[in-house]
């Protein structure tokens, strides 16, 4: 019997049937896809442009900023806003989600509609390798964008202003960037979730943008309305009675929003004068030293925020993981 590609099944022995082979191949492919895509270029351009706009603003206003308080000058490159340009921190909080959403909104449903998904699942790989590979590749791309832009920005800032950062400030910036990666990875996980649930890429893109707009713009309004309804502060008597509960409820609701959670956490990390994220009474401040918070203490303050963000990310990814594993493969 003449055989053209060797005996059927002859390479079986050499072939390792293990999940890690497939996972690696998938990760490589997804990463290559992202890096060579036009989408990635656009996102990089978007982030780089806004970063440098905000850096320009910060540098041009840095003299005024430093006149008030000249310590931690390096951090101010990231956190201070100059003439009418928002700071890097607030830019990233607002635009970061776009990066995550753009990388993930068509992760699964485009494979499904292109008919590549059923070809993929017929290969000897574990099914979860597909979605894990997509998430990890997306996160790697996010990390690459954020760290490189953040570091380049700091370097340019140093060159332009001549500020010399100490180790603590550099550490604070790195922690800030790490927070940012986790924050954006949450949005990536969310958009992957929508891409599992929605059959059309357009639907999942719209749905994830809707969630983003809601959290970025309307959540604080909703929190206000609810807090004022539950603990009214409309007259003096009520205000005296309710202001603390009102504030706590409002902050609690706001912290459900990843946008708020992230903003609060990074502004604490990047501003050593920030001593608390909650209300303190005058009594509690008595005897406190008027100094900057050390890095460890700042970190301690926002540790719950980091945990919360990471948990949100894992929940979003976990739900999409389970959804994907239970879903029918057939495309019609």
């Amino acid at each position: 019997m003449k055989r053209k590609t060797g005996t059927a099944g002859s390479t079986e022995k050499q072939r390792r049937i293990s999940g890690s082979v497939g996972r690696k191949a998938l990760f490589r492919k997804e990463l290559a896809d992202h890096l060579s895509s036009r989408r990635f270029l656009i996102l990089l351009l978007l982030i780089a442009t806004t970063s440098f706009a905000s850096l320009y603003g910060a540098v041009s206003g840095i003299a005024d900023t430093l006149a008030d308080d000249s310590s931690y000058a390096f951090l101010k490159l990231y956190s201070s806003s100059g003439s009418s340009v928002p700071s890097f921190m607030s830019f990233i909080a607002l635009l970061g989600p776009i990066v995550g959403l753009a990388l993930g909104f068509d992760a699964v449903n485009s494979e499904r509609s292109n008919g590549t998904l059923n070809r993929l699942v017929a290969q000897p790989i574990y099914r979860d390798a597909i979605i894990v590979g997509k998430f990890l590749a997306g996160t790697a791309v996010i990390a690459a964008i954020i760290y490189s832009v953040g570091i380049v920005m700091g370097t340019v800032g140093i060159l332009v202003t001549g500020i010399r950062p100490d180790v603590e400030q550099v550490a604070r910036v790195l922690i800030f960037l790490t927070f940012t990666v986790v924050y954006i990875a949450f949005w990536l996980a969310l958009s992957i979730l929508f891409s599992v649930v929605c059959r059309h890429a357009a639907t999942s893109a719209l749905a994830s943008i809707a969630v983003w707009v809601f959290f970025a713009m309307f959540m604080s309004l909703v929190a206000n309305i609810v807090a004022n309804a539950v603990y009214p502060v409309d007259n003096e008597y009520n205000a005296m009675l309710n202001s603390l509960s009102n504030y706590n409820l409002r902050a609690g609701l706001n912290r459900l929003s990843p946008y708020y959670l992230y903003s609060e956490a990074v502004s604490t990390i990047m501003d050593p004068t920030m001593r608390t994220v909650n209300v303190v009474t005058v009594n509690q401040v008595v005897g406190a030293l008027s100094s900057y918070l050390s890095l460890g203490q700042s970190l301690l303050l926002v540790w719950p925020h980091l945990t919360g963000l990471a948990a949100l990310m894992l929940i979003a990814f976990g739900v999409s993981y389970v959804g994907f594993m239970r879903q029918e493969v057939r495309s019609n």
Partner: protein
């Protein structure tokens, strides 16, 4: 006698209320080309997905080369190649890159992989188009690349889901030749699902007819024909001159005739035995001229049609059900 490579026993799959596959029993021998025939929505794709361990059966089991398809999907998928209907590729990658990716998923790499890709591209006649982006391929080219993609892992068993759909006649001829080649030269086992009988008829060793989740018949074509006769007797088309009522009464007198119906200018005579010989003699003696005489049941088309009638089916109803299955409501139940 070759051994069975696919062994399906009491395989059942239910989606909520609807039974997609009902107590399926089937064995496929090594080196065989088996055609799974049935209308849309008969449960062919569901069966295939269960064979690949992509859908869990409600009951029963499927074994491929002795491995349980539900428990050891990875081992099964490393010996089974699957060509889905409407196969798709990553449009931004070239055909070659797509194949390379599949090869890597199968643990191949380096020179061995490149050589195999070249070989397979040659074999399916895609060498020239290999470095074009897959997004520019026509349906027929995608199909050919799909076959190369399946062969990358050098599978013992190849499952094709509706491979003949939307292929032009020339492509069809090449595809069928390739299927024969895969079976005869490579010694691979093929399972082909289709609702297009004419094409499948030419390449299959055995066929199974699948209606509404049940396998109503299986065997070689002559076997099916034989079985048909035993169940339903013979069906004879007869056209005579003159075409009058007297002949009808006389035909009923013939031994073995059980029923006669009129169809345009012909009689359809059902009988329990072959009456052709007696009938022509009888008609000749009585001054009738035979214009048309045809024994039905010889081709797969007829067998197929008869089995559907037997199972109380028609294509339209099935299509309707399939359409319904696309609906949201059903998808929700499928997910559970």
């Amino acid at each position: 006698m070759a051994q069975n490579v696919i062994e399906i026993a009491h395989l059942t799959k239910q989606y909520g209320e609807k039974t997609a596959v009902n107590d399926l029993n089937l064995s496929i021998r090594e080196g065989e080309v088996f055609g799974l025939l049935g209308p849309n929505g008969a449960g062919k794709t569901t069966t295939i997905l269960m064979l690949l361990g992509l859908t869990e059966p409600t009951a029963g089991s499927a074994l491929i080369c002795g491995m349980n398809c539900t428990r050891n999907p990875l081992e099964v998928k490393s010996v089974v190649g699957y060509l889905p209907d409407n196969v798709g590729f990553y449009g931004d990658m070239t055909g070659r890159q797509n194949l390379r990716f599949t090869g890597r998923l199968n643990g191949l790499d380096g020179k061995e992989l490149e050589e195999r890709i070249d070989q397979l591209l040659e074999r399916v006649g895609m060498t020239e188009a290999a470095d074009r982006r897959a997004g520019t391929y026509s349906k027929g080219m995608r199909q050919r690349l799909g076959i190369a993609d399946v062969l990358i892992k050098d599978p013992k068993i190849i499952i094709m889901d509706e491979p003949t759909l939307g292929i032009d006649p020339e492509g069809m001829r090449e595809l069928l030749a390739l299927i024969r080649q895969l079976s005869e030269e490579d010694g691979r086992t093929l399972l082909i699902s289709s609702h297009q009988l004419q094409q499948i008829q030419q390449v299959c060793d055995r066929v199974g007819i699948f209606v509404d989740g049940s396998l109503v018949a299986s065997g070689t074509l002559p076997e099916l024909e034989e079985q048909m006769r035993r169940d339903g007797g013979f069906l004879l088309e007869l056209g005579v001159q003159p075409y009058d009522d007297r002949i009808l009464g006389m035909l009923y007198q013939q031994p073995g005739v059980t029923n006669i119906t009129r169809e345009k200018d012909r009689f359809l005579i059902a009988s329990s035995q072959d009456i052709r010989g007696d009938l022509t003699k009888f008609l000749g003696n009585n001054g009738y001229t035979v214009l048309h005489l045809h024994q039905r049941g010889g081709d797969l088309d007829e067998i197929y049609r008869r089995y559907f009638e037997k199972a109380g089916q028609n294509d339209e109803r099935d299509n309707f059900e399939k359409k319904n299955r696309h609906g949201w409501k059903h998808r929700k139940t499928e997910a559970h």
